[in-house]
Each structure stands twice: as structure tokens, then as C-alpha cells.
């Protein structure tokens, strides 16, 4: 019995780091301006990867001929709804390897939903309105967050271990639009500078 208790305690010690603590990551551009819509993923070294719970209601709405939000982070297995709040129809699609799909023509106040079952970045478009674009980042990590308007991503409880920080942004000048950075165990804040390219201009062909 004593041996069983010791085993359970050892497993618990390894599964839940003893000193989980918050981490704040600030992302700025080359001019020091905060970068919103960057997605920061933390991969602690030597700690079992914890998957996020596919809970909550996720949606990418279409309003004023734009997707909202521009970047959405969802866990693997999440269902995302695509409500149309515009007076015109939309035809939402993605060619991304993480999820190829097509939602043909749905009208105002109608919605469609898609299940995202593989991790990766899914680029969205509308076949009618070429200027519409957005991204869904499907993550298999519980430690993934999107930067807010101040360029800050907050993690409430991260393991007390060194970790690899991976930052992705749709306009980041780097392979796969992402870069990595090592942080030390116990580090509570980090600042990352991104070299961004300007957003592309739309090819106007909206007829």
C-alpha cells in the first residue's frame, strides 16, 4: 500500500509542476510598437504536453465584408461557427493543409460550422469578396494565447521549467511565419521583437 502511495505521489509530481506561475509575453514590431494578433505557444521542456480542452463557443463572423476576429485560436477538435452578419452572401473557404473546406453561399443571419481536427494554421477567404481574409490557429497546447491590442499574451499557469516560445503572425518575415525563442525556468515575462511585412493590398475583383 505504501509503495502504491509513493508511485501515485511521484506521478503527481511529474504531471503537475510544483510551482506553476503566470507568464506575460509582450510582442512588438521593429519600431517598438505593440503587435496584436500574434499567437504565442509555450512548449515546456521535459514536461508532458497538455492539450487544451475543446470547450467554449468559437466563431468567426462576417460583418462589413470582413472576418471577425482576424485571428482566432482554437483547440484541436473545436467546432467553429461562421455566422454571416452582412446583408450579402458569403462563400467561405480554406486551402490550408490543416483544414480544407468550403462553405458555399450562406446569407444574412445564417451560419455554418466546421470542426478543426488537426493542429496548424488555417487561412480563410471568401470566394465572392477577395479582400476578406482571416486566420484560425488550431493548437494542441494548453499554453497558447493571442496577443491583445497592447501586444501582450498572458498565461495564467505555466510549468516552472525552461520552455520554447513559438510566435506566429500572418505577416511575420520568417519561415512559416513563425519564430522560436528559449526562455528560462521561472521566467515571468518575456519580450519579443517581430520583423513584420506590410499586409498585402487587396486585388479588387468583388463582382
Amino acid at each position: 500500500m505504501l509503495r502504491l502511495i509513493i508511485v501515485i505521489l511521484l506521478v503527481a509530481v511529474h504531471a503537475v509542476p510544483a510551482a506553476a506561475a503566470p507568464l506575460s509575453v509582450r510582442v512588438v514590431d521593429a519600431h517598438g510598437r505593440p503587435v496584436g494578433d500574434a499567437v504565442v505557444t509555450l512548449r515546456p521542456v521535459g514536461v508532458a504536453m497538455r492539450g487544451p480542452a475543446p470547450s467554449g463557443n468559437y466563431s468567426v463572423s462576417q460583418k462589413d465584408l470582413q472576418f471577425h476576429p482576424f485571428v482566432l485560436v482554437v483547440p484541436v477538435g473545436a467546432n467553429v461557427s461562421f455566422p454571416n452578419r452582412d446583408a450579402t452572401k458569403h462563400h467561405v473557404y480554406s486551402f490550408s493543409p490543416a483544414k480544407r473546406f468550403e462553405l458555399k453561399l450562406f446569407a444574412r443571419d445564417q451560419s455554418r460550422s466546421v470542426r478543426f481536427d488537426k493542429p496548424g494554421v488555417v487561412a480563410l477567404g471568401c470566394n465572392i469578396h477577395d479582400a476578406m481574409t482571416a486566420f484560425i490557429v488550431v493548437t494542441d497546447s494548453a499554453w497558447t494565447a493571442r496577443t491583445d491590442g497592447q501586444g501582450v499574451a498572458q498565461f495564467a499557469n505555466v510549468p516552472n521549467a525552461s520552455a520554447q516560445l513559438i510566435v506566429w503572425h500572418p505577416y511575420l518575415r520568417a519561415p512559416a511565419n513563425s519564430l522560436g525563442k528559449r526562455i528560462a525556468a521561472g521566467q515571468r515575462s518575456e519580450s519579443i521583437v517581430l520583423n513584420l511585412r506590410p499586409p498585402p493590398m487587396a486585388m479588387n475583383n468583388d463582382y
Binding site: 446583408a87 450579402t88 452572401k89 477567404g125 470566394n127 499586409p199 486585388m203 463582382y207
Partner: protein, 428 residues
């Protein structure tokens, strides 16, 4: 309706018959068919209050560049209904739709009619390539200032000289196809089109010169011409039908236009456009409306400077010829040029813009001679603020032009007009 109008109507009728056949040949899923729901209809328009100085507007039969007249040095203040546009965009399948725009234009000369009517085919794109097509009565995609199905001006009330002319004289019955592709971070697009019923393009530009206004030509309607040079006043009526096929048979000499767009991996878009209506300059109809062989090349550049700042540049150079070629040359040979730069800044719920235009016409004809040439410039500043479905605009515009002689009038060679204009623009 005179013979010009009948010929235009017949041309349009054939075109719409062809479009109907296209629709009939396209399979439609019942769930995709949306013919007359509320989502297919929208209503746009504007009301204006303007204070204008200077010469009589071309709309009133003068040479004035604007669509409102002044009282010489005295300011003329008038409230007016600008436009009301009813936009109908039915959808026949997920890839096939149509756009029909009926417009009521107020101001100095109120008239209603059809502005655009075309069918669009836009199949699902592939990862890197897109093909799309449209056919019908439509403006070629030259303007960097206009947007939306109702073709409204985005940053100002009054469009540039280039896009004013496109709106009034360059809207043919066309069939166009566009192919777009991505090459790395570069994006390329090519458009080719054939068109008919634009044989008189250039008449207004030649006799009046350039204009600055948003008064587009409605299908089958005429535009007034100012006093004509006495050498030609018995050879050309005091009007022009911009939607007209002159000469024997419909589509006897179709014209073409082509466009290339290059978008490098910086926020800049570069557009090249070529137009040739291939009209026969010696063709004439019973109303004495002639074919005007008009060609032009156009360069457009749009740059996003960041922080809500945009810069747009357009430049156009062309030539139009009309009439019989005699020993001393063809009756009309007008070489025209125009350019503008528009800087704009957008902020939450509004924006400001400033534009500078330069333009000229060089007349080398035997009947319309060098003394009818003109040069000019214009400066425009405008601001707007959105209040839900209503947008309020305020614009100050000054235009100055010079020509050696204004036929049959005592106008001085140099003419200036200044206009302060407020507009409430609505969209439902």
C-alpha cells in the same frame, strides 16, 4: 426616341438576349437561387448643398468643368438631389450572379435610367489561381477612386478628371475575362475584353474638354455638348450618346480593352490598362453622330503607406479621331492627357483626402483646330464622417482651365471655378 436611341436599344436587346441564354445554360441549385430577397436589393444616394462660382456648367450647355454653374464672380448656392441608386444583385447559383443599377440623377438636369447591368461568373478559385468573367453594360475597371456596385466615389464627392470622363463616356457593352495568379509573394492579374456600343467616346472630351463631376451617363441617354466650332456645327449635333454603335450592323467593329495588375510583396498595386474602341471615324448615323476612334493607355498606382494613409496615382494618355480625312488632315484629331495624385488618411468613422489634377487636350484636326486645345488643373480637399447608414462629406474644389477660344461665347481664355459642397450620403 431618335434613331441613335433605337440603335442603342437594339444593341442592348441583343446583348441581354445573349446574357439570358447564358443564364439558361447555367445549372442553378434551388438553395443558391436568390432572385428578389431583401438581400439582393440596396438603395444608395445623396443630397447636396453647393456654393459655386465661375462659368456656366457643361450640364447647362456651357464649358464649365463642374456639374453646377456659378454666376461669374458671384457665388451661386443651390441645394440639390445628387443621385438615388437602386442596386439589384440577384444570384442564380453560387458562381453566377448579376448586378443591375438604376439611377436617378438630380442636379441641373434630372433624369433616370439604367446605369449598369451585367452578369458575373466567379467559379471557386484554386489555391493559387482564379478565373472570373462578366458581361453586360459596365465600366471597365480603370478608376481607383470608385467602389461598390453603385460605383460611388470613396474619398471625395467629386471624382478626378480621368474618372469623371470614364463615368460619362467609357461604359460599353462588354464581355471580359480575368485570370489571377500568385507567384511567390507576387500577385498578377490579367483582364481582356471585347466590347461594342462605345463608338462616340471622345466627343464630349473633345468639344467640352475635361470635366470634374460624378454625373454618369445613363444607358440610351444623351449628354449635352457646348457650343461647337462653326466649322463643324452643321456636321455634329449639340449632343452625344455615349452608348452607341455607329456604322453598319451591330458589333461590326468591336473594340477591346486589356488590363494587367502587378502586386509585389510590398503594399503597392500597379495597374496598366489599354483601350481601343476601333470605331470607324468616317462612320456616321442619321443623327450625324460620328464614330470616334478613341485609344488610350492608363497607369494606376495604389500604395498603402500604413497608419491609415493611402496614395493613389492615375495617369492617362490617349487620342481620338473623327470625320473625313482631307488634304489638310482629319476633321478632329485630339490628343488628350490627364493625371492626378490623391492622398487620403482614414481614421475611425471617417477620413480626409487631398487631390491634385492636371489635364490637357491638344487639337490637331482640320476643323477642330489648335485654338480649341485646353490645359488645366484642379485641387480638391475633402473630409467625411460616418454616422451609421449616413456619411457626411464636405469638399472644397478649385479648377482652372485655359483655352484660346470658346466658340460662340465671350468667355475669357482662362476660366476658374471654385465650389464648396456638403453632402449627406446614405446607404440602405
Amino acid at each position: 426616341m431618335n434613331s441613335s436611341g433605337k440603335r442603342s436599344s437594339a444593341a442592348a436587346g441583343r446583348c441581354f438576349a445573349a446574357l439570358s441564354a447564358l443564364l439558361a445554360a447555367t445549372p442553378c441549385a434551388a438553395s443558391d437561387l436568390d432572385f428578389l430577397s431583401a438581400d439582393t436589393l440596396s438603395l444608395t444616394g445623396n443630397v447636396r448643398l453647393s456654393a459655386t462660382s465661375g462659368e456656366e456648367s457643361w450640364v447647362d450647355g456651357g464649358f464649365g468643368k463642374l456639374d453646377t454653374s456659378g454666376h461669374g464672380d458671384r457665388v451661386r448656392v443651390i441645394p440639390e438631389l445628387g443621385q438615388v441608386n437602386l442596386v439589384w444583385q440577384p444570384r442564380f447559383s453560387w458562381s453566377l450572379s448579376a448586378t443591375v443599377v438604376g439611377s436617378l440623377q438630380g442636379g441641373e438636369r434630372t433624369e433616370a435610367g439604367l446605369e449598369q447591368a451585367f452578369v458575373s461568373f466567379k467559379p471557386m478559385r484554386s489555391e493559387r489561381h482564379r478565373i472570373s468573367a462578366r458581361a453586360g453594360l459596365m465600366w471597365p475597371a480603370v478608376s481607383l477612386e470608385h467602389e461598390g456596385a453603385d460605383w460611388h466615389v470613396r474619398d471625395t464627392i467629386t471624382p478626378s478628371a480621368i474618372n469623371s470622363w470614364i463615368g460619362e463616356e467609357v461604359r460599353p457593352l462588354a464581355a471580359e475575362i480575368t485570370a489571377s495568379t500568385s507567384a511567390g509573394e507576387h500577385r498578377l492579374s490579367a483582364t481582356a475584353a471585347i466590347f461594342v456600343a462605345n463608338d462616340t467616346a471622345g466627343a464630349l472630351l473633345t468639344f467640352r474638354g475635361w470635366g470634374l463631376h460624378d454625373r454618369t451617363t445613363l444607358a440610351f441617354r444623351r449628354q449635352p455638348l457646348p457650343h461647337l466650332p462653326e466649322e463643324i456645327e452643321y456636321l455634329q449635333p449639340r449632343f452625344t450618346h455615349p452608348l452607341l454603335d455607329v456604322g453598319p450592323g451591330f458589333a461590326h467593329r468591336p473594340g477591346y480593352y486589356a488590363k494587367l495588375i502587378w502586386q509585389p510583396p510590398v503594399p503597392v498595386r500597379i495597374e496598366l490598362f489599354r483601350y481601343d474602341n476601333r470605331a470607324d471615324p468616317e462612320a456616321v448615323n442619321n443623327d450625324l453622330e460620328w464614330g470616334w476612334h478613341t485609344q488610350f493607355n492608363h497607369l494606376g498606382i495604389a500604395a498603402d503607406l500604413g497608419g491609415g494613409n493611402q496614395l493613389k496615382l492615375q495617369a492617362l494618355t490617349g487620342r481620338t479621331r473623327m470625320g473625313i480625312t482631307e488634304d489638310n488632315g482629319i476633321w478632329v484629331d485630339n490628343r488628350f492627357h490627364a493625371a492626378f495624385a490623391l492622398a487620403s488618411h482614414s481614421f475611425t468613422n471617417g477620413g480626409v483626402a487631398a487631390r491634385v489634377d492636371a489635364f490637357d487636350t491638344r487639337q490637331h484636326g482640320s476643323l477642330v483646330t489648335a485654338e480649341a486645345s485646353e490645359t488645366g488643373w484642379a485641387a480638391t480637399v475633402a473630409g467625411h464622417r460616418d454616422f451609421g447608414p449616413v456619411t457626411a462629406f464636405l469638399e472644397l474644389l478649385h479648377v482652372s482651365s485655359k483655352r484660346a477660344k470658346h466658340p460662340d461665347t465671350d468667355l475669357a481664355p482662362r476660366q476658374r471655378q471654385t465650389r464648396l459642397q456638403g453632402e449627406l450620403r446614405f446607404h440602405w
